[in-house]
């Protein structure tokens, strides 16, 4: 997993609430057996017209946002299914940070496994960043994970909270499985104990 330390880029505004995982990556693209190459299908049904051409009204098709690295999104982003194809598609497009007032739990977790930082902020802060994002290429935002700060285009700084373990893994690009396998002894011990207590499992 790629490390995340500091990210500077254009933020795209997507104020719609309840953007679900079917919107982020529709099911016809879940038939892949790979993780890569999904960026072209990100937000497929909103992003392309029926003839397959890009919808000029969709935010990521506008020249100012084609290279967006950050999304500022409405409440409850990523609700719906557990498909990790959603963060894979975001990452493949180049989005490495999503900012909202709230995220669905599974999507939120999936982001961290893929080097994407989801940031939860109070509504007034999200509203402020949404306004900044609407200014397009003139509104470059910097996200500093180490300091847990967002630096806006006008010099303002916002602080965000984050679980220390998730931050540590993201900063260092750590693979969860390797970390857990270091606890193999504890798992063995638990398994023996649990088998005695609940042999039917």
């Amino acid at each position: 997993m790629e490390k995340f330390d500091k990210l500077t880029g254009v933020a795209a505004p997507m104020p719609l609430v309840n953007i679900d995982t079917d919107m982020i990556i529709p099911k016809q693209f879940l038939k892949t057996i790979k993780r890569s190459g999904l960026g072209v299908h990100l937000f497929d049904e909103m992003r392309y017209l029926d003839d397959g051409s890009p919808n000029p009204d969709f935010v990521l098709n506008k020249p100012a946002y084609r290279d967006a690295r950050i999304l500022v999104a409405g409440d409850n982003f990523g609700c719906g299914s557990s498909r990790e194809h959603a963060p894979w598609a975001l990452l493949d497009f180049g989005i490495r940070c999503v900012i909202s007032t709230s995220f669905a739990d599974i999507f939120y977790n999936n982001c961290f496994k893929n080097g994407i930082l989801p940031i939860v902020l109070p509504r007034e802060d999200v509203d402020k960043l949404m306004d900044d994002a609407r200014r397009g290429a003139n509104a470059v935002i910097t996200v500093d994970l180490e300091r847990q700060e967002i630096h806006g285009p006008d010099g303002g700084t916002l602080h965000f909270d984050l679980d220390p373990f998730k931050k540590h893994c993201l900063l260092n690009g750590l693979d969860d499985i390797s970390l857990t396998l270091e606890k193999a002894k504890a798992i063995d011990d638990f398994e023996q104990k649990a088998t005695r207590a609940r042999p039917w499992v």
Binding site: R35, D75, I106, I177, P199, V201
Partner: protein, 468 residues
């Protein structure tokens, strides 16, 4: 004396391998269910790292999302990508030595129906699957999480999940449900009351007289949609209804082990005075048969209501409702019972069990579906299909004009050929009405099996109580 615990606290404590100072915990996983869509990258990850499946005997795989449900299934899967995905599961199951129900096995079906049916899901277990509707298994008093593919790989390799403990939320449904009102109406009504983010960060325990009165099938329907309310999991404390359902299933314990298991299962309830961070209470009597009118499962109203206007809402929901009404082709003020449907889908992990099919048969027996209606019934498993045939339900369905299909996820998410065309409108017993969920441009109204049956007969959204 120890502090009173919730059911969630008890299951959590019984599976805690380790916990760091910051609350990051390693939770042992008793059952890992696997399907073809969210697992290929996880098995590939194992292979590349030279890792094995740590507990293949606790890992159960079945293809469901991509499989055709037409009777000519043995011809194989036409879509190449779908076929490759199912073949990948075949290969991975063999190579890693996990339990497997292939497409041609009568026990094949939707993973969340197969698990309980085969007795893999038992009270007090931790269950995961790379699928958000894993919440279904909470009906047994099992802590069941939907997980992403990276976590699937983590569980395959370590049989554990890294978790932080969620908060406790209680949803109590007092009293009894009225005739014509089902578990589906109950679970949709809860989401209507709490919103799709109402359960975020929480594990919901459903309780109260109306919940106790539900069969296991009904309880699975309720817990299935806990995820639509944003919850990490849904739970119902096991009781005699649970134990009777589990007893004698192929992988349920027997003899002395059954007795030992039963003794432990009977301790799985929330202690008097245990703390809940959030409590929601609804009266069972107040719940009507409901339908969704929008593109979020929280867009729920009683069938007797009318389509709302964007101005009836606040904040970001105003624009979302405007967009939803445009997508759904609906005008504010029109009666929900005036909405015509051209398709009816009965099935899914929400409502593809035998009790659901019996309820449909009650409504459609001796009647015909509306002319021109496309109506399909897709049983949740091959065994549900066999039982429905044995009970004579299949004959009733076919007589009424329904297509009677083979088991799979089918039109719930339309990864197989069962899809809506743009503009088609469907009364569906599934769980999501998102834009494009059942096919690009397709319009979905979520309903109970009874309400879907009623819509198939009349050709419009219909109050099933008028047909009882």
């Amino acid at each position: 004396m120890t502090d009173p615990k919730t059911l969630y606290d008890k299951i959590w404590d019984a599976h805690l391998v380790s916990e760091d100072d910051d609350g990051t915990a390693l939770l042992y996983i008793d059952r890992h269910l696997v399907h073809e869509v969210t697992s290929p990258q996880a098995f590939e990850g194992l292979r590349m790292a030279g890792r094995k499946v740590r507990a293949p005997e606790k890992t159960i795989a079945v293809p469901d999302h991509n499989v055709p449900t037409t009777l000519d299934r043995e011809k194989g899967i036409e879509n190449e990508e779908s076929r490759i995905q199912v073949e990948a599961l075949d290969k991975n199951a063999r190579e890693f030595g996990i339990h497997y129900y292939p497409v041609n096995d009568v026990r094949q079906g939707i993973v969340h129906i197969v698990g309980p049916e085969q007795g893999w899901t038992l009270p007090g277990m931790t269950v995961v699957c790379g699928d958000s509707h894993t919440a279904t298994h909470g009906a047994f008093g099992a802590l069941a999480h939907g997980i992403g593919t990276s976590e699937v790989e983590h569980v395959l390799a370590t049989q554990t999940l890294i978790q932080k403990k969620s908060k406790n939320m209680k949803v109590e449904i007092t009293g009894r449900l009225q005739p014509g009102v089902t578990a589906k109406d109950l679970t949709l009504a809860v989401i209507g009351a709490t919103g799709t983010a109402g359960g975020t960060g929480h594990v919901i325990e459903y309780c109260g007289e109306a919940i106790r009165g539900l069969s296991m099938e009904g309880r699975m329907t309720v817990c299935n949609m806990a995820i639509e309310g944003g919850a990490r999991a849904g739970l119902i404390a096991p009781d005699d209804t649970t134990f009777e359902y589990v007893r004698g299933r192929p992988h349920a314990p027997r003899g002395a082990q059954w007795e030992a298991a039963l003794a432990w299962w009977k301790t799985l309830y929330t202690d008097e005075g245990a703390h809940f961070d959030k409590v929601v209470t609804l009266k069972g009597e107040d719940i009507a048969p409901v339908v969704t009118w929008g593109t979020s499962p929280e867009d729920v109203l009683p069938i007797t209501a009318s389509v709302p206007a964007p101005e009836d809402f606040e904040g970001g929901k105003v624009d979302a409702v405007r967009r939803a009404l445009d997508y759904m082709g609906l005008t504010p003020g029109m009666k929900l019972t005036d909405i015509a449907v051209d398709t009816v889908f009965i099935g899914s992990c929400t409502n593809g069990r035998i009790e659901d099919l019996r309820a449909v048969a009650e409504i459609v027996r001796g009647r015909k579906i509306k002319e021109g209606m496309r109506a399909m019934i897709v049983p949740g498993s091959g065994l549900v299909r066999a039982q429905a045939e044995e009970e004579g339900l299949a004959a009733i369905f076919e007589e009424a004009g329904f297509e009677w299909r083979l088991a799979g996820c089918s039109m719930c998410l339309a990864m197989n050929p069962d899809q809506l065309a743009p503009g088609e409108r469907c009364a569906a017993t599934s769980n999501r009405n998102f834009e494009g969920r059942q096919g690009k441009g397709g319009r979905t109204h979520l309903v109970s099996p009874q309400m879907a049956a009623a819509a198939a007969l009349t050709g419009r959204l219909t109050d099933v109580r008028d047909l009882l």
